[in-house]
């Protein structure tokens, strides 16, 4: 079905179900319980999971398949965001032209950068992409936001002002991005007993787009083109002596992943109509590299997992403070409570970076294939416990 084999189809269906039911899955704890702190099912974070998932899926098409490690992919995300916000400023708050232009602009930008950078390989390629992205960031942060020619609005971030043209902005429309009248911030909250689930229009737009582009990425992985890309990673010499030109292949992969990044950037602007220059900084590019490696380079689902992992830490762990700790451990005797809080204190709130750093190290030390390998190991373990005699049922890696 859908031109996929059984394993891929299962994977796609699982991803589709998980994303569509994410509002339930990510809010496992009752809204008033102490554990509610770990709930991630609020619109903004769910949107971020999806958007960074798309970003990482695209990045993985380049890095996972061809092995070309770009350290400047955030530039395309930034370009996409800027393009989208400009559409909001010029046309209207409808997200369709915004996302469209975001993809196109990111595509053009990546053709340009890719064409030059792909003249080199290995770390030389990485540094070239890094250099282009850092230049874009530096220019967007300052020079391109000077009063005479304000393309990016610099540090503050590009946003829509009352006096922008917005030529198609209808009367009585709200000042927020919408999909033909469905506002991205409209949320339906469903309360079930002590639980509360948010269904957000913006999230579902992102989710549907992600399922579509995830499907596309499976197709790319399984296509002759995808095989050529893996061949490039494996042996470029043999590639050219087989009469295949590696350059257009890698450029195509670069542009496709740049367009994924542009799509992610466009969606970010659609969910929150502001585009900041920090999105283009090397740390942002580094983040998507980390997401991909953490999840499992070259696997289909890994980058999405990695994106979720990092964003979860960033948004959930950074918000835990001592007060919350004291609430959690209030059942302990005072002295022990204070001691426990004292032990945990460095790892939460302002220490969330520390926890993230430790997690990076643990994952890469113990799970060389990233989180996907972790999942496979758990899967195998359950299988071997479940029915040890069934040796024929081999799990294909979720690649």
């Amino acid at each position: 079905m859908l031109g996929l084999n059984k394993n891929d189809l299962t994977l796609l269906l699982v991803v589709a179900v998980l994303t569509l039911f994410a509002p339930f899955i990510l809010n496992p704890f009752p809204a008033d319980s102490a554990m509610a702190q770990f709930n991630a099912g609020y619109p903004d974070l769910m949107q971020r999971f999806i958007i960074f998932g798309i970003f990482a899926i695209g990045f993985n098409i380049l890095f996972g398949l061809t092995g070309y490690l770009s350290f400047g992919h955030a530039a395309f995300l930034g370009v996409g965001s800027y393009a989208a916000v400009w559409m909001f400023k010029l046309l209207s708050y409808n997200v369709v032209p915004a996302i469209g232009l975001a993809i196109i602009m990111a595509g053009l930008f990546s053709v340009l950068i890719g064409y030059v950078s792909l003249r080199r390989s290995g770390i030389y390629f990485s540094i070239l992409t890094l250099a282009f992205a850092q230049m874009s960031f530096a220019l967007a942060y300052s020079v391109l936001s000077n009063p005479k020619f304000n393309l990016t609005n610099g540090e503050t971030g590009l946003q829509v002002y009352k006096n922008d043209p917005q030529i198609f902005h209808g009367e009585g429309m709200q000042d927020f991005p919408h999909f033909f009248g469905i506002y991205m911030n409209s949320t339906h909250t469903m309360n079930v007993g002590a639980w509360s689930f948010d269904f957000n229009a913006g999230y579902y737009l992102c989710a549907i787009i992600m399922i579509a582009v995830f499907y596309l990425s499976i197709r790319i992985f399984r296509s002759p083109f995808g095989m050529m890309l893996r061949a490039i990673k494996s042996n470029q010499t043999r590639m050219s002596y087989t009469g295949l030109n590696p350059r257009p292949h890698t450029l195509a992969a670069f542009v496709i992943s740049g367009m994924y990044a542009g799509l992610a950037g466009g969606l970010m602007a659609a969910m929150d109509p502001l585009a900041g220059a920090e999105r283009m900084q090397w740390t942002a590019s580094g983040e998507v590299v980390l997401m991909t490696i953490l999840g499992g380079t070259g696997t289909l689902i890994g980058p999405v997992l990695g994106a979720g992992f990092i964003k979860y830490f960033e948004n959930i762990f950074s918000k835990i403070n001592d007060n919350i700790l004291h609430q959690w451990f209030a059942f302990l005797p005072d002295g022990i409570e204070d001691f426990v809080v004292f032990i945990i204190h460095p790892f939460i709130g302002k220490g969330w970076h520390l926890t993230l750093g430790i997690m990076f190290m643990l994952v890469v030390i113990f799970l060389p294939g990233g989180l996907v390998e972790g999942g496979q190991r758990i899967g195998k373990w359950i299988k071997s416990r479940g029915k040890s005699d069934d040796k024929t049922a081999t799990t294909e890696p979720a690649e």
């Binding site: 890095f63 092995g67 490690l69 030059v116 003249r119 080199r120 390989s121 290995g122 770390i123 030389y124 540094i127 070239l128 890094l130 250099a131 282009f132 850092q134 230049m135 530096a138 220019l139 942060y141 300052s142 020079v143 000077n146 090397w282 580094g286 590299v289 980390l290 490696i293 953490l294 380079t297 460095p346 220490g351 970076h353 520390l354 993230l356 750093g357 430790i358 997690m359 990076f360 190290m361 994952v363 890469v364 030390i365 060389p368």
Partner: protein
């Protein structure tokens, strides 16, 4: 004219820091084939050796002075450093004053130890792993190291002044009959860096140990076949690379007050320096370090920024792109290093 020379001096000074970090990075690349994203953190730890020693020397006992009040109106607590009570106020004050140069003595063993622990405890297991994994693990380590430093020292920069004798400026142009004032400590920093760089090169060039390491950098397998335990030597090289970065950090502390993320600030730049210099080439790293330092200085002159707005922000990256497009393997890179 003197403005021109001043910018060259500034460039050499910035370049010294880049060169020292890049030198260590290249050593680690060249010998172990490891992409060490934690190298900036080593530089930072070096700087914090200086901070720690100066804090350590200023450890004080507290006496209460009833005649003075603190900000809450309570009697003022007067702190007297132990060093001053042990060695007398004058010698004690002098020791505290010279704490930055003294911290070199502390930094060398500390950095070697940190290097050895890092290599044996962690990096060793990543020789055979993909570069991607090395990046992830060393990046994680860098975050952990800097968060630990942040936990103990805070996020705010900590002023670590040089000895009083080395404060102020010298007129370098005096011999030639024109004005060329330049800060003393920056002159010291440049000379110190030149010494360290010369030391590393001499060590690699003139000792048997260095010869083996250089041979190993060129062809690891062959050297291994000769029955030489190259791994052990590479471990020592890692410690030396850590030490070079640390020393760069110690002496940098008085130039700009250290903070916990200074390593990250230098990390990306030093990678650019290493690559522009050419992967695996030690002279290339040093050359590129000084070159980029000088170019950066000139790009920040008013003349440059009015001709090309924003050039000061992008110069390093622009140069990197031009160099890499005209010279495929950087200035002095060897073929086949890190190209997969």
């Amino acid at each position: 004219m003197d403005a021109f020379i001043l910018q060259i001096l500034n460039g050499l000074d910035k370049g010294s820091a880049y060169a020292l970090i890049a030198l260590g990075l290249t050593l680690i690349f060249g010998t172990l084939g490891v992409v060490n994203f934690a190298h900036g953190a080593l530089f930072m730890i070096g700087a914090f050796c200086a901070v720690s020693l100066s804090k350590l020397l200023q450890l004080s006992y507290v006496t209460i002075d009833e005649t003075q009040k603190d900000f809450l109106g309570n009697p003022l607590k007067v702190e007297t450093p132990y060093v001053e009570s042990w060695f007398g106020p004058e010698v004690g004050a002098a020791i505290i004053d010279w704490s930055v140069p003294l911290s070199i003595l502390l930094a060398i063993p500390v950095m070697i130890l940190v290097g050895l622990i890092m290599e044996r405890g962690l990096i060793k297991h990543f020789y055979k792993r993909e570069h991607a994994d090395q990046i992830l693990v060393t990046f994680g380590l860098a975050i952990v190291l800097q968060e630990i430093v942040k936990y103990y020292f805070g996020a705010n920069p900590i002023q670590t002044p040089p000895p009083d004798a080395l404060l102020g400026v010298s007129n370098l142009g005096a011999w030639f009959g024109f004005e060329l004032p330049y800060p003393n400590w920056r002159i010291v920093y440049f000379c110190f860096s030149a010494l360290v760089i010369a030391g590393v090169f001499a060590f690699l060039q003139f000792t048997t140990f260095g010869m083996v390491v250089r041979a190993g950098m060129a062809d690891r397998e062959t050297v291994g076949l000769l029955g030489i335990d190259i791994d052990k030597r590479f471990t020592i090289m890692f410690a030396i690379a850590a030490c070079v970065a640390g020393l760069a950090g110690v002496m940098y502390a008085p130039i700009n007050p250290p903070n916990y993320h200074m390593g990250m600030d230098f990390l990306v730049l030093s990678f650019v320096v290493v690559v522009v210099g050419g992967m695996g080439s030690l002279p290339g790293a040093v050359l590129a370090g000084f070159m980029l330092g000088i170019l950066e200085s000139f790009a920040s002159t008013t003349w440059a920024t009015t001709t090309l707005p924003g050039i000061n922000q992008i110069i390093i990256y622009l140069v990197a792109i031009i160099v890499l497009l005209t010279r495929p393997r950087g200035l002095m890179g060897r073929k086949g290093v890190m190209e997969e």
